[in-house]
């Protein structure tokens, strides 16, 4: 496998694709949104419970490629326990990470760094950001469908 390809499909991505974390509906979630990537047919639903401005529970279900599934899984781990403001800031930094455009604060994003390889694959950036757009919709305008198009 080429270096580029290995950087895209790192062990952690393959693992989170095979066994996505927080892959469940949250029936009593107070925020949900559907994310749709019509070009690929990727579609997922994100569930969030927020108490006192803090994300207390988060889950997702849906169908997508390895990049979108692993990204959603890693995102749920990263956002659990964060405030809404922190979630917004993390969205910006994650976006910079996968597009290779940096305007925000630097520093490691921990496990999310595994998705940095997406940078070399412009066609796949949308896959990596789908869950993040969806959670942002859930937090800001719940009930709406987030679309990558």
């Amino acid at each position: 496998m080429t270096v580029d390809l290995r950087s895209l499909y790192q062990e952690i991505i393959v693992d989170h694709n095979r066994r996505p974390r927080n892959f469940r509906e949250i029936p009593d979630a107070d925020r949900t949104a559907i994310g749709d990537n019509p070009l690929c047919g990727d579609r997922l639903t994100v569930y969030v419970n927020v108490q006192g401005g803090v994300i207390r529970d988060i889950g997702f279900v849906g169908n997508g490629c390895a990049i979108s599934t692993a990204s959603a899984s890693l995102m749920t781990e990263a956002l659990l326990g964060k405030t809404e403001q922190e979630a917004d800031a993390l969205f910006e930094r994650f976006h910079d990470l996968v597009t290779g455009i940096g305007h925000g604060a630097r520093g490691s994003l921990g496990k999310l760094e595994a998705l940095a390889g997406v940078r070399q694959f412009p066609a796949r950036v949308k896959c990596a950001t789908l869950a993040w757009h969806t959670v942002r919709t859930a937090l800001n305008t719940p009930g709406r469908t987030a679309s990558t198009e």
Partner: protein, 420 residues
């Protein structure tokens, strides 16, 4: 199948040199992608162009460029002649009765929109129906939805079996007294199914219902004879037939074209204009408002010349053998399921791989130099019917070889390894 029996001509000797000679006609096929030789298996999306097509477009701009049907000068004459000769070439290619039954458009999509907005709106009344099949490309769904909405008519959909074959009895049953038009695909772009269009047209005509055939995926792969088919309209795109983008064809029976109102207004589609009244031009020019894609028509003519020199029956045989070989080689990879197993197929192998999303297959294959399509193939209703969000699709052209199928299969096995 013997893996070297890539026959382009009938005969007992495997004609591999034939193909490698043809491959030399396509400059792009010698390039590399990610350091690997390009294996281009996305021909259902668009085909690569032979040198003769590229040269014809270039020659036109270098020696003959002018506007058509206008000037009294020599170049305008030449351009007009080249453009109208291209129309004649298309008419012969489809075996149309007359040149004026050929309207140049941007592509199959525009051709269908033209028929929907003119023929469709003229005939559709509230409660009427337009019948399509469940395996249509969006281009043969959305234009009908648009005019149905306007007219208060209804789109009805003939079902397909899980294997990707049309339920012909159901189709016949849905040709009702309210059906004003059947719009059906000749070959499914997502599955490769070849529909029995001749029979379908016969069934519709028995009830006085006209038929439009979407030939975008058929014209590059099978001989098409519109008189033998009896269809009222036939559409295809030049770029899927080794020609340039931005040029396509609407064939319509002269009686229909005569009766249809113009699609767009402008220059070239008129005989005489006053502010009180405009007299429209004769067909086909009535439908060709504005300066047409002259170079595109010239390129399309060269593409048809190229294809006819090889012979569509030979191309068809070659692609069928390649498809059979690919079905076997890809089908035996553990975890692979072929999607679309109709008895009659042309040039398309859709598949899914357990545990690996088609997009990931596409990315991994791309890194092996193998270009395929992954997604819903602009046929979302069909994907819903099959219960799949997406498939991976390899589609073949006249220049593909069994060795390329081997690289495809090797790439799919690699994708399995990555996600093991």
């Amino acid at each position: 199948m013997n893996r070297s029996s890539a026959l382009l001509t009938a005969g007992p000797i495997p004609a591999v040199p034939e193909i490698s000679r043809l491959r030399d006609d396509f400059p792009i096929l010698s390039r590399k992608v990610h350091g690997k030789p390009l294996v281009y298996l996305d021909n259902a999306a668009t085909t690569q162009k032979p040198r003769s097509v590229i040269a014809a477009v270039q020659r036109y701009y270098r020696t003959s460029n002018a506007n058509v049907h206008r000037g009294v000068h020599a170049l305008s004459d030449r351009a007009t002649q080249a453009y109208e000769e291209a129309r004649n070439r298309v008419a012969r290619f489809l075996n149309a009765r007359e040149d004026r039954e050929i309207v140049f458009v941007r592509g199959a999509t525009e051709a269908i929109n033209l028929v929907a907005q003119t023929f469709g709106l003229l005939r559709l009344r509230e409660g009427d129906e337009v019948l399509v099949t469940a395996m249509e490309h969006h281009a043969n769904i959305v234009p009908w939805q648009m005019v149905c909405d306007r007219a208060g008519a209804r789109l009805t959909v003939a079902p397909v079996y899980a294997a990707g074959e049309l339920d012909l009895a159901a189709y016949e049953g849905m040709l009702t007294g309210r059906t004003r038009l059947a719009a059906v695909t000749h070959v499914s772009n997502a599955l490769g199914t070849v529909n029995p269009v001749r029979e379908m047209i016969g069934m519709a005509h028995a009830r006085g219902i006209p038929v439009l055939v979407d030939g975008a995926q058929a014209a590059p792969h099978l001989p098409v004879d519109v008189q033998a088919l009896g269809c009222d309209f036939y559409v295809f795109s030049g770029h899927k037939l080794y020609g340039p983008t931005g040029i396509g064809v609407l064939y319509g029976k002269a009686e229909h074209l005569e009766a249809m109102p113009p699609y767009q207004g402008g220059g070239d589609m008129i005989l005489r204009v006053t502010f009180e009244k405009t007299t429209y031009n004769a067909i086909p020019w009535k439908f060709e408002a504005g300066t047409p894609n002259i170079a595109g028509a010239v390129g399309l003519r060269a593409a048809i010349d190229y294809l006819d020199a090889i012979g569509l029956p030979a191309v068809s045989t070659h692609e069928r053998e390649l498809l059979a070989y690919a079905t076997e080689e890809v089908g035996r990879i553990p975890g692979v399921r072929i999607v679309g197993t109709a008895r009659e197929k042309a040039g398309i192998l859709s598949f899914v791989l357990e545990g690996v999303h088609p997009h990931d297959i596409g990315t991994i294959l791309d890194h092996e130099g193998v270009a395929i399509r992954a997604g819903h193939h602009c046929a979302m209703p069909l994907m819903d019917r099959l219960g799949l969000p997406a498939t991976a699709r390899a589609s073949f052209g006249l220049y593909n070889t069994p060795a390329e199928v081997d690289l495809l299969a090797a790439g799919i096995r690699k994708a399995r390894e990555v996600f093991r």
